[in-house]
């Protein structure tokens, strides 16, 4: 294979791993609560700021700060679910959509109010570090982020397979009423699922910050991608989200090289429409 092509595939996969992690949180929440979290990108933005400030103020390395961010975002997710989502779980879709849309507006503009619209980046000792082998150049922080993302996704899948709580989450995603009859505490399980979804996007934020900049509307950039990934992967399949993330990452890397990096959004959109037209259940979705 041409070395350039290989390089593009690697770049794409490294990027796609992040997309996968962000999208898995979204898919988990949709699968269990049947709600599209339109504020998902804003949680990514919040975690990027969290990692940024932990580094700026206390010198905590972003990878280390994940140890703080993941549990804090899990709890944040539970609290947000309890306050905003729980009351509208059985409301018509319109109320559900605008609840999370409203939340997204509040969070994004609160960030604008507190931190202003400035783009912020951090310089770690390894931000520009690259590994060079066999003519390939691999960004060290992107590789670390990819490996961490894969490890987290694997841990999440094992958790859902092996533990009681994990099984309860999956049961709820498949058949709400039957799960209730089996004695699953539905509301607690909803909260945990939402918390895990937010923790995933929280971890993704901390991994992104060494290679990306943060500003109040950074979330909407990523969430648009995550939505395409979720549709591509089939909106109720976690493995599908991972695969969809990797595919979109590679597509982005190729289109950036062969077409133009500025047109990537348009290309996502074309993919989005094509899936809707020809395979509305996505690649891995159940009908």
């Amino acid at each position: 294979m041409d070395i350039t092509i290989l390089q593009l595939v690697i770049n794409g996969l490294l990027l796609g791993g992040m997309y996968g992690l962000i999208s898995i949180g979204l898919t988990l929440i949709f699968g269990v609560l049947e709600i599209v979290n339109f504020a998902h990108g804003e949680f990514l933005m919040l975690s990027m700021y969290a990692a940024f400030w932990l580094f700026q103020l206390y010198g905590i390395d972003p990878y280390l700060s994940m140890l703080i961010i993941i549990p804090v975002f899990f709890l944040l997710g539970i609290a947000v679910q309890r306050i905003t989502i729980q009351p509208i779980l059985n409301a018509p879709p319109l109320n559900q959509i605008f609840m999370t849309v409203g939340l997204s507006m509040v969070l994004q503009n609160a960030a604008l109010f507190i931190w202003t619209a400035d783009y912020r980046t951090m310089k770690t000792s390894y931000s520009a570090l690259t590994l060079k082998t066999a003519g390939l150049i691999i960004s060290f922080p992107r590789l670390v982020a990819f490996l961490l993302a894969m490890a987290l996704i694997a841990a999440l899948l094992i958790f859902l397979k092996k533990t009681y709580t994990g099984k309860a989450i999956r049961a709820l995603a498949q058949e709400r009423k039957a799960a209730m009859l089996m004695g699953i505490n539905v509301y607690r399980t909803y909260q945990i699922a939402f918390g895990i979804g937010i923790a995933c996007v929280g971890a993704a934020g901390a991994m992104l910050i060494p290679v990306y900049f943060v500003f109040p509307s950074v979330g909407s950039l990523f969430v648009l991608i995550a939505f395409v990934v979720v549709i591509l992967g089939g909106y109720n399949s976690l493995v599908g989200s991972l695969a969809g993330g990797l595919i979109i990452g590679v597509v982005e890397s190729f289109s950036g090289f062969f077409v133009s990096p500025h047109l990537k959004e348009a290309i996502y959109f074309v993919i989005f429409i094509l899936i809707l037209l020809f395979k509305p259940t996505g690649l891995f979705g159940r009908a």
Partner: protein, 603 residues
């Protein structure tokens, strides 16, 4: 005064008519009052956002399709007219029409794939559309100057759609808003409006009553987009500067939705109330807080939105409605209006006006031939054939999971068969899809789990059915009232469906299907869950329907009903037809007894 007929002046003197006219007059003098650009700007913005919120409400409120990408069309309107003006000196009035044409094309291209999506995903797709157009507008620097934006040089003149004073802008926006309001009012009271609201409440039920749901949604989107695009041009001519981040901002789409929700989603005038309340609030918030920091006004908006969807889903209209009617009555002429209103309900007519078809005893009136359907590994229906002669009542029975409802869904186009055909009046109607086509062929159906349109009254529910054959709202209303009288719900015609008992909901379901004037009526479990007296009543009703020449195919679990009504009975078991015959023959059939009671009972 002799020119005006007594009838006309009488109509005009009703508060229902003259009070809104007074409000409109007040709005018309409003722009002349302040003599101050700051307040004039608030008035222009209120009218302008009122028009846009009305347009949004047509899709988001009436049809229930939540669009968060309406700025796409706003932006297309703004950019098209501005670019044509700057590059070709084309008058923005004409550029506006070009923008409308382009917006409609884009709306059709986007609407057809996206309307297949369910609620959340439709909203998501529309966000993506708005965002992508914003990126494209920023990307094509050669054409749009990208993020720098386009400045329109100020050359006042009516041909340039530019004015020195804000007052002409205010009147243009007012006209735009009032035209949109009239259109919404007309739609709400027409066949089209009934179609939109019925599909919002239950798409399957709407289809079964002959509503072309895809076409109705697309029509609503097109009308909405026309006005949104015009508003885009208006905005460009008013501000004289456009850039991708303002005219394609997701924020505007959300604002429009917010106005409609706060004012009253799906109501005719609610969005105007929302816009009139929130637009000035927004301007003041920006004036007071904007200096302190950006974003604060949007924090307030977001919070208002979250609180509103939780606690006030009906918006201001919900509250206005509680006093508006009584208030109108207190106005001069109010009493009289009430009287005419009460007399407007026509006296009930017996159902004999329902078309009594010429009973032409023809064997192949309706026929199912070798119909098969499998779901994954499960065979739901296997090679089932039977005929329904004209004018007869045929019972379709079988234990749970026998495939009865699947046959109904196959016949009415909700699912397509793997093999086999369905013939109706000598014509093959297999897999006619979407289901409204079946209804228009004069096959009506009810659903096992009743599907009333919750946002509509009993009368309005029945009118949706009547509109399958009728264009005119008055005629549909008359037919619906006759039907309601026949099914015994005429005294409840003004009630919301939520206040009906389960028996009455079943009657309504039956009446609604009857209003489509079917030749063949498919009844799915119309007596299940009813007490003996209610069952008797419905049995009587079905007999009467049959007496009028309407052929009936009914699924029933209640043997009493099947035995009392059916001329013949078809028995299904695990997807196979195991028996067919008169009720008496069936009750003695070994295979039937075995299927229902188990083998041991045979011994």
């Amino acid at each position: 005064m002799k020119f005006i007929s007594a009838n006309f002046s009488e109509t005009l003197f009703q508060p229902k008519i003259y009070f809104p006219l007074i409000l409109i007059l007040l709005m018309a003098v409003l722009p002349l009052i302040p003599q101050n650009p700051f307040y004039e700007d608030i008035i222009v913005s209120s009218f302008f956002y009122g028009a846009m919120a009305l347009a949004w409400n047509l899709v988001g409120g009436f049809a229930g399709q939540i669009s968060l990408g309406h700025t796409a069309f706003f932006g297309i309107g703004a950019y098209t007219s501005t670019l044509l003006y700057l590059h070709y000196a084309l008058s923005p009035w004409l550029g506006m029409l070009a923008g409308v044409a382009l917006s409609v094309l884009v709306a059709i291209g986007i609407g057809i794939p996206c309307f297949r999506l369910k609620s959340h995903f439709f909203a998501l797709a529309t966000i993506a559309i708005g965002e992508v157009l914003r990126f494209l507008a920023a990307y094509w620097r050669g054409l749009t100057q990208g993020g720098v934006g386009l400045l329109i040089p100020f050359k006042p003149g009516i041909e340039n759609f530019m004015f020195k004073s804000k007052i002409p802008y205010a009147y243009i926006a007012l006209v735009l808003m009032l035209v949109m309001l009239l259109i919404c009012y007309w739609i709400r009271n027409s066949r089209f409006g009934f179609h939109l609201i019925s599909l919002r409440e239950d798409q399957d039920a709407a289809e079964s009553l002959g509503v072309k749901t895809s076409r109705a949604k697309l029509m609503a989107l097109i009308i909405s987009v026309v006005f949104t695009s015009i508003s885009g041009t208006f905005y460009a001519q008013y501000i004289l500067f456009i850039d991708p981040f303002t005219v394609f901002s997701l924020g505007i789409s959300i604002e429009l939705a917010l106005f409609a929700i706060i004012g009253g989603l799906g109501t005719v005038a609610g969005p105007i109330l929302g816009a009139f309340m929130l637009t000035p609030l927004d301007v003041f918030l920006r004036a007071w807080l904007g200096g302190v920091s950006a974003g604060l006004n949007f924090i307030v908006y977001g919070l208002v939105l979250m609180v509103a969807v939780k606690y006030f889903p009906l918006g201001i209209s919900g509250w206005v409605r509680t006093w508006y009617g009584p208030f109108l009555q207190k106005l001069p002429g109010g009493r009289r209006a009430l009287k005419t209103e009460a007399a407007a309900v026509p006296s009930a007519v017996t159902a004999k006006s329902l078309e009594a078809a010429q009973a032409q005893q023809k064997a192949s009136f309706f026929e199912v031939r070798s119909l098969s359907k499998r779901f994954g590994g499960l065979v739901a229906v296997r090679d089932v054939s039977f005929q329904v002669p004209k004018g007869k009542i045929i019972g379709l029975i079988g234990p749970n999971g026998a495939g009865k409802t699947t046959i109904f869904n196959l016949v009415t186009g909700f699912i397509s068969p793997d093999s086999g055909e369905v013939l109706f009046q000598g014509q093959t109607i297999t897999a006619l899809n979407p289901p409204h086509q079946i209804c228009l062929k004069r096959i009506g159906r009810t659903f096992q789990v009743v599907k009333p349109f919750r946002g509509m009254t009993v009368l309005e529910n029945t009118m949706v059915g009547a509109f399958a054959r009728l264009q005119n709202a008055q005629e549909a209303r008359r037919l619906a009232l006759e039907i309601l009288d026949f099914i015994g719900l005429s005294k409840d015609h003004g009630l919301p469906t939520s206040s009906l008992t389960i028996a009455d909901r079943k009657r309504l379901e039956l009446g609604r299907a009857l209003a489509t004037r079917p030749d063949l009526l498919l009844l799915d479990e119309v007596v299940a869950g009813l007490n003996p007296r209610e069952t008797e009543e419905i049995i009587g009703m079905i007999k009467k329907i049959s007496d009028q020449g309407i052929t009936i195919l009914m699924i029933a679990h209640v043997m009493k009903a099947v035995m009392a009504l059916s001329h013949r009975v078809v028995v299904l078991h695990h997807g196979d037809k195991i028996a067919e015959g008169t009720p008496l023959e069936i009750s003695r059939d070994k295979r039937v007894i075995e299927a229902y009671l188990g083998e041991e009972y045979l011994a």
